[in-house]
Every structure is written in C-alpha cells, then in structure tokens.
C-alpha cells in the first residue's frame, strides 16, 4: 500500500481516507457478515476425506487490493502477451517444433515432459488456441515491475472467487462503490462463453457448449456449477456423455444431444479411460478419437501442461521474443534450474536465501522457503536436491508488495499475489481484476488456500475518462 518513501500509493488514496473513518468493530462485523454470505451461498471448497462437515470457507478479507489504471495497463498488456506466446508455443511444439530447431528450447524438455501429449501432434485447433482460459500468477515488486510466479494453462481455477468476492464487497460496502470507479468484472462468464463458442468445430453454427466437471465432490465444484449457471450451459460429468458415430452426445430427457465444445475442468489423464487411465470413472470412453477427428473442441486442449511446467517457465521470455518479436512486459523471477550443475551448486550454497520448489508441484506443497526454514529443514532439502536435481528449481525471495489486511491484531500488512484471468478465443482479453491471494500469517510468503491463505477483492481503478469499448 505504501510507496518506497512511505507515502500512500495514489491508487489507495480515496480508500485509505474512507478506511480511517471506519471503526474496527464495524470492519469486524462486516467480516463476519461476509463469512455468513459465503457459507449461505455455498462458496466453499471440499476438504478431501471428511464427511458432511468437509466444506470449508477460504478466508475472505474485506480490505480490497487496489491497482491503479496505469499499473493495470502494464499488467494487462503483459498477461495478453504472455498467453499469446504460450499458445503460439503450444501450436508450434505440436506441429513443426521450430523453437526446438532454433535451439531455444531443448527437445528433451518437451518430449520427455509428462504433460506432452503425442496424440495432439499435427492436430489443427480452431483459432490455433490451446489455452482458452489461463491464469498468470504475478507479484508486484515496485511501481512498474511485475514478476510472473507461474503460468497456469491446464485448468486454472479460482475465477468464481474473483466474481463472488466482488459481489460480496458490493453487498457489504455499497457506499464505497458509489464513490470509487472500480472496473467491473461481472462480464467474465459472457466473455468466457464467447471464447468457447468461437472455437467450435468448423461448420457448426450454433454450437452446444458444456462444462465438464469431475463431480460434486471435487474441491472446485462450486465454481463449475457457478460458471455453468452464469453461462446458461449444461454441467456434465463423464457419465452424461457418450461417443456415437464419431461425435459426442449427452444423455438428456429428450434423448441424445450432440456436444460441440467441452469446457472441461477434468485433468488430461481423466478425459478418456480408453486412452489414458483405464480405471478412471470420470471420463468418456472414445472421447480422444472424436477430439482427434476435430468434431469436438476440448478447452483447454489436452497437452497444454507442457507449457506451464516450472522447467518451461524459464523459457517463456524467449518464447515471447521468438514468436511475437517483442520484449516481455512482465519479468520472470530469476530462476535456478537445479538440473544445471552450476545452478545446483549455487542453490546448495545459498539455500537459506532461496525458495526451492518442485518442478511439477503445485498448491504450495513440497517447497522450502529458505529464510523461514530451520537449519535441519534446509539440510533435509539439500539431500533431496542432490538425489533428484532435475526435480527442483529455486528462486530468490522477492520483496513482495504487501496489502493492508484485517487480522487478529487489527489492520496489518500481509503479502499478496494476483492471478488475472486471460481468455483466448477470437481474441485474447483479460478481465480487469483477478484473484488476489493473501498470506494471512505475518511475514509469510505462502498464499495457497491449502496452506492457510485467504483472498481479497481486486480493484482496478478506471481511467478518469472512460473510453467506450467495442
């Protein structure tokens, strides 16, 4: 919230004036009200292995994270650029592989990647889009600099929190929205549907789009149902679909109905038990052959995971230069690949200063935050690094920006990151906002909800003169 010299950043000026007029009691009361709202709306995630009670709330903080119009302009340009490059990369590695031939990305990193799907080779996708929905996780380190922590181009989740957090804030603090010019995010479902319709198989006029979920016990089920409802499309599970004469159909009360676009929130491995995991009950037998014949479009495409791997991350700035001929707007965090002997040596020598992550890990598991770790923990990680260097990368701890947050002791700064959502269809666009995750423990850098992180509403302030879009 504060600029380097201690002044309140301009984006927060109005809000800060408002905040100083609020009593702690009122804020706490609003906080409780928010919890109630979320619980009643069922905005919960499921904790595996618990029974009826296994539904938890992700802590919500009533103090928003605010970005100025200028900050957002940088972020928007950078996120679109990054996703465009990732889509170009995916098209390339599943076709001519020019980036490998040019010696920019090592072949073995692609071909031996678990997420690489040979079945996708040579397949031409509508609009050449592989990642229709992407989440680019960023942190701000100073006024103009954003670092990308990671790209998410498989089945990124959390967008329902972006929408519901805003909804909740508007219910709780209508007065605030009356005086600030906060860019709206509520058109996301409409743009998402538009992107999905834009990638229907050629020749299909009025495509039937469905959302495929692993089912109501999946941790992100609320989001699946929410998006299906907002888009007015069917929410299907594998058992609702079947393959017949080269197309995919859903079972309805009026008999089979053909499906053209599947926005799937099921991982690659569970889409088609014939092709991938034979024991999976989530998928649709034979679906892959329909995908390959181009008669159904699966979003995101299978095999996108090869682009958002932590090992591939280092190459994204080069991809931007290679495919778009531009300099990256968003910076990569300097990253040491432990597979390189020099980098490994550096990481082992400086482990107490670094954050070490598993290449394929997610959700904040299997990572070491050097400055916060004990010597024993560091030593333990060193052993793991030496045993399996390929499996790890390391990054310096960043001077992450903080945001005022309502905690036990009052209002205190906590570290935040931000995931803007990027949609790719006939064009690439970003909703002005995103999911701000906040580390609720003092000093903590880990924002994952599975590790006690919370969320905030994200405000992008509109430019003083609002330009008409489209």
């Amino acid at each position: 919230m504060h600029a380097g010299d201690g002044d309140i950043r301009s984006a927060y000026r109005d809000y800060s004036a408002w905040l100083t007029e609020q009593s702690m009691d009122r804020l706490r009361q609003k906080h409780e009200q928010a919890d109630l709202l979320f619980r009643r709306l069922g905005i919960t995630f499921t904790v595996y292995g618990e029974d009826e009670g296994g539904e938890r709330l992700i802590p919500f903080d009533v103090i928003p994270r605010i970005l100025s119009h200028d900050e957002w302009a940088i972020l928007e340009r950078g996120a679109i650029q990054r996703v465009d490059a990732l889509n170009a990369f995916l098209h390339d590695i599943y076709h001519d592989q020019e980036i490998i031939r040019a010696g920019i990305v090592p072949a073995e990193l692609v071909m031996t990647n678990e997420a690489f799907q040979p079945q996708m080779l040579g397949l031409d996708l509508p609009q050449r889009v592989y990642a229709h929905v992407s989440g680019v996780d960023v942190v701000r380190v100073d006024d103009k600099t954003f670092y990308v922590l990671e790209d998410n181009v498989r089945t990124p989740s959390g967008v329902s929190y972006m929408l519901e957090n805003r909804e909740t804030m508007m219910r709780l603090f209508p007065d605030l929205f009356a005086q600030s010019v906060v860019a709206p995010v509520d058109r996301y479902p409409e743009y998402l549907l538009r992107s999905l319709q834009a990638v229907a198989p050629p020749g299909v006029d009025d495509p039937t789009v469905v959302l495929m979920t692993p089912g109501q016990y999946n941790s992100a089920y609320f989001e699946h149902a929410f998006l299906a409802m907002e888009m007015g499309i069917e929410l299907v599970e594998g058992r609702d679909l079947f393959v017949d004469s080269g197309s995919i159909f859903m079972r309805t009360t009026e008999g089979p109905k053909r499906v053209d676009v599947i926005y799937r929130r099921v991982d690659d491995g569970f889409i088609d038990p014939l092709a991938f995991k034979p024991d999976s009950a989530l998928g649709v037998p034979g679906m892959l052959s329909v995908v390959r014949s181009g008669r159904v479009t699966v979003c995101n495409a299978m095999g996108t995971g090869v682009a958002d791997d932590k090992a591939m991350y280092c190459f994204v700035p080069d991809m931007i230069r290679f495919y778009l001929g531009e300099e990256p707007v968003l910076q990569n965090v300097p990253t040491y690949s432990c597979r390189k002997p020099d980098d490994l040596k550096y990481v082992l020598d400086n482990i107490a200063e670094l954050v070490v992550k598993e290449v394929h890990g997610s959700g904040g598991y299997g990572m070491l935050v050097g400055p916060k770790a004990t010597k024993a923990e560091c030593d333990d990680f060193k052993k793991r690094l030496k045993a399996e260097p390929d499996n790890y990368i390391a990054q310096p701890t960043l001077a992450l920006s903080t945001c005022p947050t309502l905690v036990e002791e009052g209002i205190a700064p906590r570290h935040v990151d931000l995931r803007p959502y990027v949609l790719s269809g006939e064009k690439t666009r970003v909703m002005p906002g995103g999911l701000t995750r906040v580390a609720l423990k003092p000093g903590s850098l880990v924002v994952n909800s599975s590790q006690g992180g919370g969320t905030k509403d994200t405000w992008v302030l509109e430019a003083p003169v609002i330009a008409e879009e489209e």
């Binding site: 619980r39 009643r40 709306l41 069922g42 009826e52 109501q216 089920y221 149902a225 929410f226 299906a228 409802m229 069917e234 929410l235 299907v236 599970e237 058992r239 609702d240 079947f242 859903m250 079972r251 309805t252 009360t253 009026e254 109905k257």
Partner: protein, 315 residues
C-alpha cells in the same frame, strides 16, 4: 431439454424435501397422541408402530433401548445413521440441489442450504428447548418455504416439471403409507363406527386428518363425525385435497402428458388415474382396505420406476 442426470437429481431433491416434511407431519401427529390422557402409559406401543419392518426395528434397537418419545424422536429427527431421519432427508435434498444448482435459482439453493446449515447444528436438547411441536413445525415451514420459492422463482420448463413430479409421487406414497398403518383397524363390514370405539376413532383419525391438513376439509365436506371410511375416501379419491392420492396422480399424469405423451410412464399414470376415478369407497371396503392400498402403493412404485426408465436413467 435437460440432462437426464440433472432431472434425476431434481426428482430426488423434491422427494427428499417432501419426505422431511411428511416425517415432521407424522411425528407431530404421534407426539400429540402420546400426550392424550387415554394414551398415558401406552406411549411405547404408539411409537413402536412407526417401525413396520423387522429391519427398521432392529436398526433402531441397535442404538436405543426402548420405543419412548425421546429416543424415537432423536432417531427419527436427528440421527445421521438413520437414512430416513429428517436431518438425513434435508442433507440428501441439499446434496441433490447442490448437484443441480446451475439449473435452479439462487434463492432455491439458499433456502435449502440455510435449512441444512441450521438443522446440522441442532441437538436433541435444542429440540426440547424449542419444544417438539415448534421444532417440527419449523421443519414443515422450511419445506413450505422451499416449495414456495421454487414455485415463485423457477422457470416453467423441464426442471420445474421434474421437481413437481417428485413432490407428487412422494406425497402420494406418503398418504398411502399413513393409511396403510391404520388398515388393520378396519373391518370389512358392519357400521362405520361403534359407539365404544368412537372416541378412539376421533383421536386417531382426527390426528391423521390434521397431519395432512385435511381436518377442516373433512368437516366442510361431510359435516359429520369422524368416520374412518370417509377419511379414506377423502384422502384417496377426492381430487380437491392436495395431499390425496387422486390429486397427486392427476398432477403427475398431466405433467407426463406435457413432457412426452407417448411414453410408457404416461400410459401407466393415465391407467392409475382411470382406476382411481372408477373406484368407489364401498367397493374398496368390501374387497379389503389393505389390498386396495397395497395395489396403489405398488402402482405408484412402478410408475416411479418407469419415470426413471423413460427420462432419468443413466446407462
């Protein structure tokens, strides 16, 4: 058009919600009877009547000692091990709504979810504090509220139809169940009610009528003392009583006709309706009450299965 699996969830959502209300109605009736002067000391027999099969009895007895008010109400209202307790029904209804919330209105979801969040917290001590009557009344009101919200907010389409069908099938089955539990007290011939049993009839059948909100209707239509035969007529054959078998089958048949007139399910519903319309209470008495009720219980069960086969089945 909607997904078969979604229609299935809607159908069951309706049935579970309706069942929670019916159980509350049944328990209210029995609870009142247990307080009657004539009933003092025979409380046990009254509650024991709830458990009609050996399986139900032994499941209850595996957790509780006697068929007294406290344990029976605990079991029937709050016990999570009892799949047909009110708490379990609300949970199942809520889970079915959760699976279909994308086709339901937000208000419907919030209604069933807040009912669940409330009942999930309730202990037997809370129920006693509130009073059994008021608590069961609250359940009924929540079901009324849900039905009202559904009726007032749902788009008239397939979702609405499958929801209503679930309500009517469950309701008809429940009315039959209520009557069947009394069927053994009928005699094939003889006067409707002998003076010496009149008082007991009044309490028992009066309670039954009240539990389905048909007491006033009975008074208006028959303008006479409570006669079991007429109670049965009212609750099976009178299309004006919303919880009568006739009214429920009529509604179901109409919905099926609108959905798909060429379906087997519609044929079965229409056949059931014809038979009900042709039935006369005197003849039913002669052939035997128990047999009549068993016939229609079976008919409704088959109809429910056929609806599942025609519309809801997931192969």
């Amino acid at each position: 058009m909607m997904l078969s699996s979604t229609a299935d969830n809607l159908f069951w959502m309706a049935r579970y919600m309706e069942r929670s209300e019916n159980t509350a109605r049944l328990l209210t009736g029995l609870y009142h009877m247990s307080l009657l002067p004539a009933r003092r000391g025979t409380q046990t027999g009254l509650w024991e009547g709830l458990f009609q099969t050996e399986e139900e009895r032994s499941h209850f007895l595996s957790k509780y000692d006697t068929f007294k008010t406290d344990p029976v109400l605990t079991y029937m209202v709050l016990d999570r091990d009892n799949a047909s307790s009110i708490r379990s029904c609300v949970w199942s209804a809520r889970e079915n709504v959760r699976a279909t919330r994308h086709v339901l209105t937000t208000d419907m979801w919030e209604t069933v979810n807040s009912t669940w969040l409330d009942i999930a917290q309730v202990t037997y001590a809370d129920m006693q504090d509130m009073g059994h009557h008021d608590f069961l009344e609250w359940i009924k009101t929540r079901s009324h509220l849900f039905r009202g919200v559904a009726h007032g907010t749902m788009r008239r389409g397939d979702a609405y139809d499958f929801w209503r069908m679930g309500v009517f099938i469950e309701r008809a089955e429940n009315t039959i169940r209520l009557l069947a539990a009394r069927a053994h007290t009928f005699k094939p011939t003889g006067p409707a009610s002998r003076p010496d049993t009149a008082t007991l009839d009044y309490y028992q059948w009066g309670t039954l009528l009240r539990s389905v909100n048909a007491y006033k209707a009975y008074r208006e239509i028959y303008k006479s003392q409570i006669d079991p035969r007429r109670v049965v007529e009212l609750l099976t054959l009178n299309p004006e009583i919303p919880r009568s078998v006739m009214a429920c089958v009529e509604e179901t048949s109409e919905i099926l006709q609108g959905l798909r007139p060429r379906s087997r399910a519609y044929e079965q519903a229409a056949d059931l309706l014809n038979r009900l319309q042709a039935a006369r209470i005197d003849r039913i008495y002669r052939t035997g009450m128990a047999r009549f009720l068993e016939d229609y219980r079976g008919g409704l069960h088959d109809l429910s299965l056929q609806i599942q086969k025609d519309f809801l089945m997931i192969q």
